[in-house]
Symmetry: C2
Subunit: 516 residues, 2 copies
């Protein structure tokens, strides 16, 4: 039960760790930095920036975020192994507020089949690891993995030992998304009641959504005494994802009468942050996604509309503007200046300055010549295209295409590679996009398999921009590419080249000595 | 608390009513019939087929489903008004098991602002309406709208009066998605404890997902004694949608140890039914959607993969095959016969026979000549294209296109309209798709505004088919169109013509006298 109306819940965001490791949601360094800054602006207390030992890329990203992002605690994940903890500390040590998060599975099934360790050994390992982390950093979180399926007596022992060793946060993960609200309430209540030193640590909860109950389970934990919720933007994460940050934050706010708890979340930043993640990953939320979906505040039925006109609260428990939906998103035209652009970009969750602002402004002027009205979504697409691209080894110079029913498309494609301009002309493929894709493979010499291809209109109307997202496989890895244009063939060519540039970027960085 | 391990929960699906009325999810008569049959095959107990008084189209759809679909109860919605109830009965009376569902708001805010009625008047109106419905049909459901925000004493009075008047199901809607699991548990427990005649009716629950808790709230109601859950495929519905059928069904099954309850749901039909709805509406579920999303069973992290290899249950609480994911979806080639096609289609949720099977088989042979391997998703796209089209006033004969960087595309488009073949040649638009769109507007004379344009690759590989979904506005109404081809320009042309055919179909039926 809640103790006071002043109670504050710590929001721990793991979009960059649990979210980023799920298929389709990988991000590069620049994208992770941009999202981390947006999480600070959103009011997130702790950013789990990655799992530093997992790969050199993960390490670099956590280190860069710790070095540059100010205003939130930056956390790195580690198994209960010395090299993991050392690596995590190396990555987070430059943070304003660093945190090391160590985890070790405790459930019977994980002990027996995965770890092949007994209970005593697990407690010893957990204690030694927490102590090692505390030696580096006063802010240490410990997670007994699969806690929701762990015998409650043993869980109490592990948690007590971890706190005694110096853990300042103990996190209870429902790793497989198996818990129910009543069960989660019971587990947290038992810890509060039975662990003698529980007052020395914050109890945290980390819920997965496999049975659709991640938000309710997190809130049940809060009711029982948890003080931190682990969650992600758009609820992304392993399998069915994690507790959705926007849903849990708005539930705490809307049902303050029940939970008597507050967060630091700036709720008007929820929709911009959700859109930023969508724009980075190309993965759209479904139309009926709570809080941030396109339909979340749409009242379609005549009866509802009638009620809304008489009194909003008959059918509306939250206002769209409270979560950052803007009533009208028509904002800029060809006469808009640099300051107006930067201001609007900030509203959308992008902090532009210096060279980046110049590049986006140049692109904006070109687009404004083609399009009368530049919507928020146009601007977001433009920023994505101009400012968040990887090193452009390959760029599109021009294309020319001829295609028709029942004949093989003919395409002439010209791309630039450094100082070199190369052209190919070929007749191939099942359609225009396929022809462009084959021509790019021929020109770049990078032969990939297309796993996913999507076009999404960014705005409405005749001169709408199309955003193309592709996912290609190369050397057993998946790479994403994005391209935007009012011409869908051009957007597709850009998306394929973007994917190939990402492949090239990885090949270059792989030449460097690995971090470990 | 559950009374016995034999307890059966009635699954009431409202995809065709609450789901269909939300923006982007409207369906035509043939689509509703197809989905209703799939719901029967899924094992749904009650299908809420529509709100007959809302429009002649709604009435026709409920009447057609009641006349043709066997194996589930067919329910029609009505306000507490004589004409609504009479119309609902007209629509459902031919059903094998008809149900009339009457509703009236009971919360203070709805009484005061929307209905402008006092408590006594509301009880009288509810009783009179239930009695009228019972006069037609023994199976009557009553819903006090916004029940979750209604004073508990008054709610008990209304429910008792409705049951005394003959209601056999009393449904507790959380109309605005405001409830929490503990609150829902309290409301249902209070009804069980305080309403003297509660044993004569089934308690039902209808939860919305605005705060992300629809599934947990529904299950809390079951724990407290509810015997029916109202839900939808993919969780669609007004605003953030309803309780997701697939999530609640799998939660009841996976946590049988907690809920001690069973349903008639054939869980292996969950993914096929979800995909059928997606294919009808063009609205995809997000990648991390629980149970039916593409990532729902994906184990990405190395640690998880390692655990899975050692013992599946370390990270897997449900098996993908239990919800209808097939391990390999490569099934048909050019030598496959009609029976194999029909069998595979049935597995995907489509019942093909007679003329429909012939049309799909013809299309399959054409596609198999172009594509070596026909995947499940190819087949589903083909069935959608061949069998579920509206009357084809306009069809694509051929296109020819020339387009390139920095120049206006030129397109020659030929369409058939009945016996007439018309061709236009024009240079217009910002890109190839825009040019095709403008040419179609010129040829058909139907000028629409494009509100949404999406391409989605149906399968992987070089010869993947692209599925184009468009949403256009005409006369203040939104219309959807879909087209599939290995050539994305051709698919786009088909999608636009499909939308225009839907507009034409409505214009024709609008000439008929309205139902009321």
């Amino acid at each position: 039960m809640s103790e006071s109306s002043q109670r504050r819940i710590i929001i721990f965001d793991t979009t960059l760790r649990d979210g980023e490791q799920s298929p389709g949601f990988s991000m590069n360094l620049a994208e992770k930095l941009e999202l981390a800054q947006a999480l600070v602006d959103l009011g997130v207390d702790v950013i789990e920036a990655g799992f530093p030992i997992a790969s050199p890329g993960d390490f670099e990203a956590v280190q860069a975020i710790a070095g540059k992002v100010r205003g939130s605690t930056i956390c790195g994940l580690a198994r209960c192994r010395d090299e993991d903890i050392d690596r995590a500390w190396q990555a987070v040590q430059k943070a304003e507020h660093p945190r090391i998060h160590v985890f070790l599975a405790t459930s019977a099934i994980h002990r027996e089949f995965k770890l092949k360790m007994g209970k005593e050994e697990i407690i010893q390992r957990a204690v030694a690891s927490v102590r090692r982390a505390v030696g580096y950093c006063p802010d240490v979180e410990f997670s007994p993995e699969d806690a929701a399926r762990t015998e409650i007596d043993f869980l109490c022992q592990v948690v007590e030992a971890a706190i005694a060793a110096g853990a300042t946060t103990v996190n209870i993960p429902d790793t497989v998304g198996y818990a129910t609200p009543a069960q989660m309430h019971n587990v947290i209540s038992a810890l509060v009641r039975r662990v003698p030193n529980i007052g020395k640590a914050v109890i945290s909860v980390h819920c997965h959504n496999d049975l659709g109950m991640a938000v309710a389970n997190s809130l049940a934990a809060v009711e029982a005494g948890a003080g931190q919720i682990e969650c992600t933007i758009n609820g992304i994460g392993e399998r069915a994802g994690n507790c959705s940050l926007e849903e849990v934050a708005m539930a705490l706010r809307t049902r303050h009468d029940v939970y008597h708890a507050q967060t630091r979340i700036q709720t008007q930043r929820l929709v911009p942050t959700s859109r930023l993640l969508t724009s980075i990953t190309g993965m759209h939320v479904q139309r009926n996604k709570a809080i941030v979906g396109r339909n979340a505040f749409a009242h379609e039925a005549g009866i509802h509309q009638d009620g809304m006109l008489k009194e909003r609260t008959t059918y509306e428990i939250m206002r769209p503007e409270d979560v950052g939906f803007t009533m009208s998103d028509l904002v800029l035209g060809k006469h808009s200046g640099r300051a107006a652009l930067a201001d609007r970009a900030r509203h959308l969750g992008y902090n532009l300055s210096g060279e980046q602002l110049n590049k986006v402004f140049d692109g904006f002027k070109v687009l404004a010549d083609k399009k009368k009205e530049i919507y928020d979504a146009d601007l977001a697409a433009l920023i994505e295209q101009q400012s968040r691209t990887v090193a452009e080894h390959w760029t599109l110079e021009s294309y020319d295409l001829s295609s028709g029913s029942g004949r093989t498309p003919e395409v002439t494609l010209t791309v630039r590679h450094g100082d070199q301009v190369q052209t190919t002309r070929m007749a191939a493929g099942d359609g225009p996009i396929d022809a462009v894709f084959l021509a790019i493979g021929k020109l770049t010499g990078v032969v990939v398999t297309c796993k996913d291809f999507r076009v999404h209109s960014v705005t409405v109307g005749q001169d709408a921009q199309g955003e193309v997202t592709v996912e290609v496989e190369y050397g057993g890895q998946l790479y994403r590419g994005r391209g935007v244009s009012t011409d869908s063939v051009e957007a597709s060519a850009r998306a394929f080249l973007n994917a190939i540039n990402r492949i090239a970027a990885v090949s270059v960085s792989a030449d460097r000595p690995a971090g470990k």
